[in-house]
Symmetry: C2
């Protein structure tokens, strides 16, 4: 049985939970409170030396970290990941875009605003990231004006980008500026087996 070490309000964790639900794959969920250092204990670092959730335990002593690496692992051989090599490369492109250009600028401002007090984060750095976040949403908007999904059909690239985009307003973004994204968010929510972030 798979075990997912996760934190309920983590969008990176939500990606994995959403895919597991859509794959109808049973798993044990272990809440790991990152705010209390529970991903930095010696036991946790044995599983994932980088000390982050989500971390997936396969049950045979193997562990996999990095949400998008976990998505690729779980989706292999399913309709959530194209088998065509070029389409697969374009999925990889979006997954790296998500971790480099999107997540630090959409998710991190949300984390600061939800969990930190004013003064605990740098206001100039917040503004810089919010602008970079708008740029990333602009790249998504441009793609979604001409495409239904981030691959030829709904799959892991959509799951990865949905996780924090649908909560982007919590980090100060105005999604009504991005109508194609709003339509896509509804399209993702309408997929079979969709669950919200609160479902573990």
């Amino acid at each position: 049985m798979l075990t997912l070490y996760d934190f309920k309000s983590s969008g990176n964790g939500y990606k994995v939970r959403l895919l597991l639900h859509q794959l109808r794959q049973p798993f044990i969920y272990l809440e790991t409170n990152i705010l209390k250092g529970e991903s930095r204990t010696p036991q946790f670092l044995e599983m994932n030396p980088n000390g982050k959730v989500p971390t997936l335990a396969l049950g045979d002593g193997r562990y996999l970290a990095e949400s998008n690496a976990i998505l690729l692992y779980l989706a292999e051989g399913t309709g959530f990941l194209p088998s065509d090599p070029w389409q697969r490369s374009k999925v990889h492109e979006w997954l790296f875009f998500e971790q480099y250009s999107h997540e630090p600028n959409i998710a991190t401002p949300r984390f600061w605003k939800n969990y930190l007090q004013v003064g605990e984060y740098d206001e100039r750095e917040l503004k810089r990231r919010q602008q970079a976040g708008r740029d990333a949403l602009g790249v998504m908007e441009r793609h979604l004006r001409e495409n239904e999904f981030f691959s030829s059909q709904y799959g892991v690239a959509d799951i990865a980008l949905y996780a924090y985009t649908h909560k982007a307003y919590e980090g100060g973004q105005t999604l009504s500026d991005f109508p194609a994204i709003e339509t896509w968010l509804a399209r993702v929510r309408a997929q079979p087996g969709h669950v919200t972030m609160e479902v573990v």
Copy 2:
């Protein structure tokens, strides 16, 4: 013929150049000065809406961005990427680690120190990133104490992590604190077909 839009001092670009040289794959190199906005022109954004180097043109109207997605594309079917699914997943894990935990904390401080004046970047943010960079190097060091490479043999995970690690001192890191990393850097440099960052 492949065309690589790249910027000579970009470590992300160097990853792709290094792999292309080691694959003995000929390519056209087109220097794109990101400091002069050459990756933000309407023509460039047609190729890569995210406006970043490296961007690979396949020559048939297809383009691929994101250095690590390009590495996975070029390495498919070669010894630089394991065919075993689990080993491949661990390579993905390191590639996402590189873009999320390593690059913003090792490469960005280097960029600031090399190309910006004091006052153009936030000193507190620099310090925060340098500490996170040390943490990322610590994760690598822990792995390299027991492993020769980031996969069962030299490959794209090593290439991705080598690119900025070997220049980490330019961003304020002291690599002599990480002896296993220093040994690994030498091991990477000794691989057949290795070229330095200056070779295009």
